[in-house]
Symmetry: C2
């Protein structure tokens, strides 16, 4: 099912789709060669925005949730990809300790995703148990799920250099916790066990601008391969270093950047004859902060926009069905990113596709749908509904030769390609921020 | 869909299924460790026989056909597995030359399988073209398929050390031709290109008994892991060296072996309280010969059985929808194998499951159904129909805790495990027969 695409049925996105389909063997080979040089993140999900005139990632989550949104048909692909991932990293692994978000330990949507993840790795051949970083959990604690089943959260047990549970000594620890509050002591100095993803994939270390800088590099390479303008898949951005937009000097820097970026976007819109008012999104460098992304169409509205955002400050988006970040870290550094409207619709509600990957493989995807938000707003917010996207049986099976924009497998193949570009950018990013990088060189 | 299982719903097969499900993580880990030491064949298919009291492979095809029998839902798994296979062997590959069976160049069932295979590898990111060993094909020759599409067979072009087509220089050559007539000159001494599978996987070199000797080794290891009798998954066998069963001395040796094997099988039947008359199957060491496998219940019937087989000698089985071997090689060496009846039924017709694998992954399976054959006969014969088995969405997703014998995903998971054991045996076998083995040691 492709949701009704209002503007996407005509215009540049269809040229992009056609070009991507025509270049499929070259694209797949290009990815193969990139993965010879770079290690994919263990798993990830990428939020895309399809504006009809451009298609770009806006967020790359290295601790993905939403596995419960994948359709059952997608699961065998996920299991097979998990087998490939485990086999490369720790083939001898027997026990896998999964550490979920602590903040969502009562959020049954999130826990359903955790359950799905456990199932995937169990079927890939591991004994999987759940350890929580929440130190109020002192004994194995069952948590009921909506389908009547339950999960058991167990307290972590750190014994010298190893982390485990009572009677459970895993050789591999899988984090599904974005570490936005920094790295807890229980996870530090675990040199005897595989920790996946590595600690520097946490939002305590990651910076949005570093990711999108890597993405720009990837997008340029890819655009060269296809002979196209990288802007069609790349959201431009600016940043202000340490400036805090909540104080006057910081706000001033952000406004200057907003202005400059809007000018650049306007120029691009003119070049492509796009009759829309450009906007930018100001968001926290360190993943999600409590305020959430702020949409601005004019630099001088920034103060007001912040005030509005503050007034509707609400529980974290993850309540709505996904593993979001933890709330309110202290960091207020921001990235100013070109706003990419999303013109996909599911039953008239604004929708954006989310692509889910394990190892280098797209294992599925779904639509994030928000009935109460506009085309220029962040949809990862309370009230979002999730529509599983029938992605699995199809993103591997594009049909060259069909008219662009009308064929679901072709559209999903394109989404999978852009999702993988963002995953590759995350790989570049993690290499650049790896504290142990010199060891390997 | 699980076909109606006449005896399989009770008895040892369900204990086996339960044991395999309970041991799933240990089994998957065991395979992971085996694949660290051994390289899986590039692709393969395994014919299984489910007797209710035992489940065993009876043929392992290293040049599998029947890809057209896989359901569309299975294709994404095949594409993902093909990506993994290519990435490991020749990530830089751009062009893939596929060489199909020449004998079946007018068999549209077989050609539909070839077309499916081309589609899988195209979607894994390769430019795929077909080169034929049939030297009556002097120019690109379109062949029409039942669905209205067509394939183009092109003459091979050997230029010094490289094999290709006109304007097509592949770095990888994929054989879907079992080389039962030996290795054609066009394929010899190709040191600059990847040839998959290697030449010694052809039936000119392979011997059934060598394969089943490797399988016995694998089955014993696996049975030890699960704490069970390897006989439950292993068909016993004997052989006569170079003896030719069509002359008197040869027949005598085969009869002695038939006798000895029947005695061993009878002992096993007694041990398990199986009230059936055992039988053995005499078949060509070098894959399929024109006579086809011969079923015998008493050594003294062997002569008659041969006469009957000769009288119904018929066009090769592959006409019926699969890539069978080429007909009538000269070799008459035989293997005497324990007969494993198949008690699976599809609409009252005798059925046997076929498991298809690419790289180390089960990508699907289907039932071979033959309305005119008995439970003790070879079904890979004219008149066979093929029922695609809804295997994909399920063999990765067994459901522990369900009653054995009634749950399709659990049954298919078990089939996938036994199929992979036979694939592992083929890997052992290819290592043992590798003419270049010393290079790697």
């Amino acid at each position: 099912m492709v949701p009704h695409l209002i503007t996407a049925l005509t215009g540049p996105i269809n040229e992009l789709e056609a070009r991507i389909l025509d270049s499929m063997p070259a694209i797949e080979r290009w990815f193969r060669l990139e993965w010879m040089e770079h290690t994919p993140p263990f798993y990830c999900s990428v939020d895309l925005r399809n504006a009809g005139f451009k298609l770009a990632p806006v967020d790359t989550n290295l601790f993905p949730g939403g596995f419960n949104n994948l359709t059952p048909e997608m699961l065998p692909l996920a299991v097979q990809a998990a087998m490939a991932a485990i086999e490369k990293i720790c083939p001898e692994a027997k026990n896998l300790l999964l550490i979920p978000e602590s903040a969502h330990s009562r959020n049954t949507f999130y826990l359903s995703s955790v359950q799905r993840l456990m199932r995937i790795f169990t079927q890939a051949g591991l004994n999987v148990r759940l350890g929580t970083l929440d130190d109020t959990v002192k004994a194995p604690t069952p948590v009921a799920l909506p389908d009547g089943s339950e999960l058991v959260l167990e307290p972590l047990l750190r014994i010298r250099g190893r982390l485990g549970l009572k009677d459970f000594d895993p050789c591999t620890i899988l984090l599904n916790n974005d570490l936005s509050r920094g790295v807890p002591r229980a996870l530090q100095h675990l040199h005897e066990q595989y920790l996946l993803p590595p600690l520097h994939a946490g939002w305590g270390v990651r910076r949005m601008s570093r990711h999108f800088q890597s993405y720009e590099e990837v997008a340029k390479k890819f655009a060269k391969l296809l002979g196209m303008d990288p802007w069609l898949i790349n959201p431009m951005f600016g940043q202000c270093g340490d400036a805090d937009p909540t104080d006057a000097a910081g706000l001033d820097c952000v406004q200057t950047n907003v202005d400059a970026l809007l000018t650049k976007v306007r120029r691009k819109y003119k070049e492509y004859g796009i009759n829309e008012k450009p906007f930018v999104v100001v968001k926290a460098e360190s993943g999600r902060d409590a305020l959430g992304p702020v949409t601005v169409r004019d630099a001088k509205d920034l103060g007001d926009a912040y005030a509005r955002a503050r007034s509707r400050m609400a529980p974290p988006a993850s309540d709505a069905g996904e593993a979001g970040g933890s709330a309110a870290s202290e960091a207020t550094q921001v990235i100013i990113q070109e706003g990419v409207p999303t013109y996909e619709r599911v039953n008239d509600a604004v929708a954006e596709p989310v692509v889910t990957m394990i190892d280098r493989y797209v294992v599925g995807g779904y639509y994030r749908v928000h009935a109460e938000r506009g085309v220029d707003e962040n949809l990862n917010a309370p009230g979002a509904r999730y529509v599983p996207l029938a992605f699995a049986g199809s993103h591997h099976l594009p049909r060259p030769g069909e008219k662009p924009g009308v064929n679901a497998p072709n559209r999903f193949y394109m989404y999978g390609v852009i999702g993988r570009l963002a995953m590759l950018a995350a790989s570049y990013e993690l290499e650049a921020t790896d504290p142990d990088a010199e060891v390997y060189e």
